[in-house]
Symmetry: C3
Subunit: 322 residues, 3 copies
C-alpha cells in the first residue's frame, strides 16, 4: 500500500488512506494546507496551480457536503471540475467500475476524487489508473476517510501546536466509523501522547488496543483530562440493528454537555465531523459554545483538500514537454 | 427589515424583499442593470467583477429556470458557482437550515441565492450570516420574489421610461402570488400612476386596497386603458382546492386574447413571469404577438440579477486588507 | 436539410446529421479535430476560443457519458456550460420545447447541444433559433448521432489514413441504431471502399442496400477481410420485443472473439461506441486486446466535439461590432 500512494521519490501520488504514509508526508500536507488557508481568506480566492486540469468527482454514494468541499477546493485551484453521480448514470447500463474509470481517463481526466460504499474502491482505482492520474479517497465503505482525518489534524495543530503531549478522546461508534479509523492512524503517526476511544462495548472493535488506543466505556472516564474531544456522528441506522440503545439513552450515556465536559481540560477543544445530530451526540450549548471548533473544521477542510490535490498533482507538470 | 437589507451607509447589502427598500435603491438597481444589459449582448459576455467569489445557489425548492438565470448571472460576473439542491442532501440527514448555512459559510461562501417554500427563509438567513456574506431571495413561500419584480420594472422602464403616468394591471391569482406581492410594492415605490389587480374574488386578498391597488373582477374593466398588462402564472394545483374554476373556464374569464386586449392602450405591453400555460393565461397569438415582451423579461432577468449581485457584493472588496 | 446545416458560404452552422453535409465539411471537421487532439494532451488543456460564450447541454434523455464529453469539450474551449436535464424541470410544468428554447435563447445562450428521444428534435430547434445560435445534435431518437459517427471516422482515419481502400463492417442492431445510420452516411460520404452491415434479418432495415451497404447475416462472412469492425451496443430492451434471441444466443451468433476475428485482416481495428456489454457484443479479450481502439474513440470524442463546436461558432465573432 505504501508503494501505491507514493511515487519513486517517496512523494504523495495518490491519497487513499493514512495507513502506509509517514509522519513527513502528513506534516507536508499540514504545512501546505497552512499556505492555502490564507488563499481562502483572500478577496480573490483562487490560485492558478491546477489551471487546465480536469478533476472528476466520482461519487458512488451521495454526499453533497463532501462533494462540495472537493468541488470548491478544485475550483479555487482553477481546475475544471466534473461531478459524476454514478448511481444514476452508467452503472445503470451495467458498466463495471473499471470501464467507467477507463472511459473517464480516456477523456484526459487528471484526478479522480472517489467515494464508494465498498472498502477498497479507491485503492482498486489507484492500482489501475494511468501513470499521470491521481486518485483521492473521499470515503470508502467502513475503511478510510483520510481527508477528513487530515482536516482534523490540521485543526488540532492550529490550536495545540504539538501532538506529543496531547490526550485526544474519540467518542462514539468506533466500530463502524471510517473517520475514527483514519483519525486514530493519523494521531498515532503524528506522535500523539495518548489516543483514547470511548464507546459502549458493542461499538468497539475487538482487541481495539492493537490500534494504539486506550478504550473507555464511560464518557466521564474517557474525557478526563483530555485536550481534544472528538465526537463521531451517530449513524441512526445502527439503532435498528439493536447495537445501540435509543437516541435519548445514547445522549444520556455519551452525549456531550457543558457539565460533563468539565472533566476535560479547561482549554480543551471539541470536534465533530458533521453534520451534527443536536441532542444526540451533543447538546447545542456545546456545539455552538466557545470551545467548539466544528465550523473551523469545515473551513480547514477546503485548505487541506487543496493541499492534498496540489501535492498529488505536483508530478503532473514535470515529465511533460508542453 | 430596512436595516437588515441595507448597510450603515444605506446601501444594498442583502436583497430579500422590495418592502423596506426605497426608490433610490430600486433606481440604482435599474441603472446598474442597464449597464449589464450591454455586457450580455457582447461577444465575450463576461466581466471580472466577482472573480474569485463563491456564490451558492441554495435551492430548497426545485426551479431550473430561476436557478439557471442566477447561475448565468454569476458566471458572467466571473464568480464560482455552487448549485446545492437541499431537498436531496443534508436536510435528509436532519441538519437544520442554520447548520447548513453555517457550514457553507465556513467554506468561505460569499453569497447565498436562496429559494425556499417557507416565507421568511431568506430573512432568517440574512439575520444569521457573517458580516461579509450577502443573501439574495430567489423566492420564499408566498412572501416575495424581488428579483422577478425588478426585472419586470426594468422591462417596463425600457418601454415606458417613466412610471408616473402609467396604468399597470396585474391579472391572475393575486392572493397566492409572491410575484404579484413584490410587483405591487415595486410599482408603488417607483411612483406608478395606477396599479390594478384583476382576479375573481376568491383569488384577491381581503382589503386588497390597503396594498395600494385598485381591484377589478372583470378582465375587460381591469385592463381598460392600461399601459402594461401583467398576467400571472396559474398554479394548476389551486384548481384542486376549488378556488378556481376549470382551466377552460379560467381562460374564458381571464385569458388574454387579442380581441380582449383591444381594451388596453394601443401601445400597451404584455408581460408574464413564465413559464406560460398557453390557452390558459393567454392564447399563443398574444404570447408571441408584437406587443408581448415576455422573452425580453427573461433577457432582462440576467442583467437585473447581475446588478443585484454586484451591488450587494460592493462592500466585499472594501473592508478587507488583502 | 443541407441549407439548414450550412450558412450562405457553405460553412458549418448547425451539426444535426451527416446527411446533407459533404466530404469537404467532414474533412474540415476531421482536420480541425486533429489540431484539438494536441490540446487535450497538453499540460494546460484549454484554449480561449469560446471564452464568454454560453453553451447549454439540453438533455431530454439522460446520458452522463455523452453529456460529459460535450461538457469537457466546451470547458476546454473556455466556454461557460449550463447542464439542463429537461425531464426534471420545465417540461414538468407543461412548457413546450419551443418555449424552453426561446427562454434559454433569451438568456443569450450561444449554442445548444441537444439530446432528445424524438427523431428530428435537433432539426426542429435549428429551424427556430436566432441567427447567431448554433445547434448540435447529441442524438435524436433513432435518427442520428453525428458526433459519434465523426469520432469514429476520426479514429479510422488516424489508423488507416485513407477511406478509399477500406472494408468496414458494422455488426449489430442496424435497424434501431442512430449510430449505425450516421456511420453509414459518413463512411459513404468519405468514399469508403466497402461498407458492410452484419445482423440477423430481424435487425436489418428492409432494402438496406439502398443505404449503400452490403448486408450479411453470418458474422464470419461479414467480417472476412475487413479493415475495421464496428460493433454496436445491444439495447437490452429490444430483447423483450422478441426481435432478438437471448444475450447468450446473441453472443454465440454475433459476439466478437479473438477466434472469430481471425477472419478479419491481421491489422484490423475493433470499435464500439460504448458502454460495452462484456460477454454480449464481445468478450473481454477483444475489448481489451491490442487491436481494440475503443478507448481511443472516447479520447477522440473530445477533440471531435471541440472541432464541431468551434467550427459552428466560427461565425459568432464575425458579424459583431463589440
Amino acid at each position: 500500500m505504501s508503494n501505491l500512494q507514493l511515487d519513486a521519490n517517496g512523494r504523495l501520488r495518490h491519497f487513499l488512506a493514512i495507513e502506509g504514509l509517514n509522519r513527513e508526508i502528513l506534516t507536508e500536507i499540514l504545512d501546505t494546507a497552512e499556505s492555502f488557508a490564507g488563499v481562502t481568506e483572500q478577496n480573490v480566492k483562487k490560485v492558478p496551480l491546477l489551471r487546465g486540469k480536469t478533476i472528476v468527482n466520482l461519487f458512488f454514494e451521495a454526499s453533497t457536503r463532501t462533494r462540495t468541499t472537493f468541488e470548491l477546493a478544485a475550483k479555487r485551484l482553477s481546475a475544471d471540475v466534473l461531478n459524476i453521480n454514478v448511481s444514476v448514470s452508467s452503472t445503470v447500463k451495467g458498466e463495471t467500475l473499471l470501464d467507467t474509470l477507463r472511459n473517464l481517463e480516456a477523456m484526459h481526466s487528471d484526478m479522480f476524487v472517489v467515494r464508494h460504499s465498498d472498502s477498497g474502491a479507491a485503492h482498486f482505482m489507484a492500482r489501475h489508473v494511468r501513470p499521470h492520474v491521481s486518485v483521492i479517497n473521499a470515503g470508502d465503505g467502513r475503511h478510510s476517510h483520510p481527508t477528513q482525518a487530515m482536516l482534523d489534524m490540521f485543526t488540532i495543530r492550529r490550536h495545540k501546536n504539538d501532538f506529543e503531549n496531547l490526550t485526544v478522546a474519540i467518542v462514539g461508534d468506533i466500530l463502524h466509523s471510517r473517520v475514527a479509523r483514519s483519525q486514530i492512524q493519523a494521531l498515532n503517526m503524528l506522535g500523539t501522547g495518548e489516543v483514547r476511544v470511548v464507546a459502549p462495548r458493542t461499538l468497539l472493535p475487538t482487541a481495539v488496543e492493537a490500534l494504539g488506543v486506550v478504550p473507555f466505556n464511560r464518557l466521564e472516564d474517557g474525557i478526563r483530562g483530555a485536550d481534544v474531544v472528538i465526537t463521531l456522528r451517530l449513524q441512526k441506522e445502527r439503532m435498528r440493528g439493536a447495537l445501540l440503545p435509543s437516541e435519548l439513552e445514547y445522549f444520556q450515556l455519551y452525549g456531550l454537555t457543558e457539565k460533563r465536559l468539565q472533566a476535560a481540560k479547561d482549554d480543551a477543544i471539541f470536534m465533530h465531523p458533521g453534520p451534527i445530530n443536536r441532542g444526540v451526540e451533543m447538546d447545542s450549548q456545546v456545539a455552538d459554545g466557545p470551545r467548539s471548533v466544528i465550523l473551523q473544521q469545515v473551513t480547514h477542510g477546503i485548505a487541506v483538500r487543496m493541499a492534498v490535490m496540489s501535492l498529488a498533482m505536483r508530478h503532473a507538470g514535470e515529465g511533460e514537454t508542453d
